[in-house]
Amino acid sequence: MHLLVCIKQVPDSGQIRVHPVTNTIMRQGVPTIINPYDLFALEAALELRDQFGGEVTVLTMGPPSAEDSLRKALTFGADRAVLLTDRFFAGADTLATTYALATAIRRISSEFGAPDIVFTGKQTIDGDTAQVGPGIAKRLGLFQLTYVGKISALDLHARTIDVERRSEGGVQLLRTRLPCLVTMLEATNQIRRGAMADALRAARATILKWSAQQAGVDDISQCGLRGSPTVVKRVFAPAARNEKATMIEPDEQPAEALINAIFRCRPALEIELAALARGY
């Protein structure tokens, strides 16, 4: 079985700072990590491989430094890594991203066999759109299974897959056919530590690095900034409210002062709160 996992290298959000004067993101020195949501997808793929045999390929589109994330994925036990990197990809929105990734997946299919399941994370922590998975599925004609909490059955002879999909107000148990695309929910598994042998192999492994042309892109105008229908017009700091917060100066009885201020602002609240409050 061939399992392909799309991972993205993202800045570690915990360490991002915004420049206090210019309001731009200060990226220098911010460490990068594999998008945390993608680790659930990677672990799900590794588990299927361990159970059914086969190979796991990890794929990322990003700057040359994204190689680090791929190598990390290899230490967890992925078998092959492909880095899609080219200045033509810069500035891609989700539509242009899915064009590039889908093109690369076609090339991977012709070299190493078509993936039975393509995995993505639920969303990224920087783009945060949850659109890239569905976009890839659509472009490659894969059946789409989003927000999957559990792969409950896989029948490689019948080529069917059963999953539990989180939906509004409940869980759908779905059956579809392979090949399909799965976006994994968070907290559904825990990424393995990775064996020593994998760490040694990862350090020496060759990572396939493809430019747009090598990946098989035939229409550069669909890549990067040019291929992106969305345009970011303005980046700005949110406005403060017209009136600043009324500050309660802490005195001997800060709690009473605060409660009085709350009910002064919203007199109706006192009655409503009394109705809501638990009787003791």
Partner: protein, 368 residues
């Protein structure tokens, strides 16, 4: 969506992009809202979208249409009728028993068929699991732009949709346009927009299209559906009073102070994202861009700095009260009442003071 790193890399080149709408897109007119049904019930995010959709349509001087896709019969009919009460000028409908359960294949078919036949300029969907699953596929099918999780929608002077959402990495928002493609698509999360007033209105024009599929055409099958138990669902998004804590509380033990105050107020409790990441609180309690959006009458935030991703989840609250030790904390920029205090010290006395203040009333109520 463009990632922040790319925004940082070339804001000027993007801002310079010009609108050059090709002739084939010039016929795209009107604002559409996808009406999401959840097992025969309309998801309230749909009505929230009708409110903002009405505003956009009025500015553009075009019609607002509700798009009802679902099972043939009463529920879909009722959703259509109700759409008029929330401001629809007309309804587009695809009703078929194959649409009883949400499935990507059949719903994409229905929605893209409607779009290609009737050509809206703006298409809005709720950023629910269903809406996100559907929007991503439809936008890719139509090769158009899609802006996820918007917190504000407007049309600018030249009639383009200006979709604003928080962007990565702290206190910034960005406004995104889909200049040269149609429809301009956007998703908005539940509770970000207020529910507009419902006015009883007669049923207007309903345009129906057949789905044009038989069950054998749809590969994906729904084997079963397990509804969530009510007790498993927190009512955070719809609560009237919410008390939340952030990293300022210092430890998971101290988070109990938040729960105790919430308890006394009959409120729901919530938290900022780091607390979920640390495992102090479960993820269904997270408030903000990647958690729940709330619109309570009273929101009390203790030890929360007020990052934009948190702010967008609480901006709809009537009264925001912040407790923070740092006078310059960003949360004081958007709260209505603030107090510079140690939350660990203040929360217990605040809880007692509320209990004292409210208990006579609650006894009256029980007695009455």
């Amino acid at each position: 969506m463009n990632t922040a790193s790319e925004i940082g890399a070339s804001p000027s080149s993007r801002a310079a992009a010009k609108k050059q709408l090709s002739d084939r897109f010039k016929t795209y007119k009107h604002v559409w809202v996808f009406i999401e049904q959840e097992r025969g019930q309309v998801h309230s995010v749909s009505w929230e979208l009708m409110g903002v959709g009405r505003k956009l349509a009025d500015k553009l001087k075009v019609d607002l249409a509700a798009v009802v896709i679902g099972q043939e019969g009463e529920a879909s009919q009722a959703a259509a009728t109700e759409s008029f009460c929330y401001g629809a000028d007309l309804v587009y409908m695809v009703a078929d028993d194959l649409l009883k359960d949400y499935r990507n294949e059949s719903y994409i078919k229905a929605l893209t068929k409607l779009v290609n036949s009737y050509k809206p300029e703006i298409l809005l969907l709720g950023a629910t699991t269903l809406g996100r699953d559907l929007a991503g596929s439809v936008a890719t099918t139509l090769r158009t732009g899609l802006t996820a999780d918007c917190t504000e929608l407007d049309v600018d002077a030249d009639g383009s949709l200006a979709a604003t959402r928080p962007t990565f990495g702290g206190s910034l928002l960005c406004t995104i346009y889909t200049l040269n493609y149609r429809p301009q698509m956007a998703t908005v999360r539940p509770r970000v927009m207020p529910v507009p007033e419902r006015c009883a209105r007669p049923i207007g024009r309903i345009i129906t299209l057949p789905l044009g599929l038989v069950e054998d055409d749809i590969v994906t099958k729904v084997l079963s559906f397990l509804p969530d138990r009510d007790s498993a669902r927190s009512n955070l998004a719809y609560a009237d009073v919410v008390v939340a804590g952030g990293l300022g509380l210092g430890s998971s033990e101290n988070f109990r102070l938040v729960r105790r105050l919430a308890d006394v107020l009959g409120a729901e409790f919530g938290c900022s994202r780091p607390l979920v990441q640390k495992g102090w609180v479960t993820s269904d309690r997270q408030i903000g861009q990647t958690g729940k959006t709330i619109r309570p009458k009273l929101y009390i935030a203790a030890g929360i700095s007020g990052a934009i991703q948190h702010r967008v989840g609480v901006d709809g609250a009537d009264l925001i009260v912040a407790i923070n030790t740092e006078r310059n904390a960003p949360i004081f920029e958007f709260s209505h009442l603030g107090i510079v205090e140690d939350a660990i010290r203040l929360l217990p006395i605040l809880t007692e003071a509320f209990r004292a203040r409210l208990s006579p009333h609650s006894r009256d109520r029980i007695a009455g």
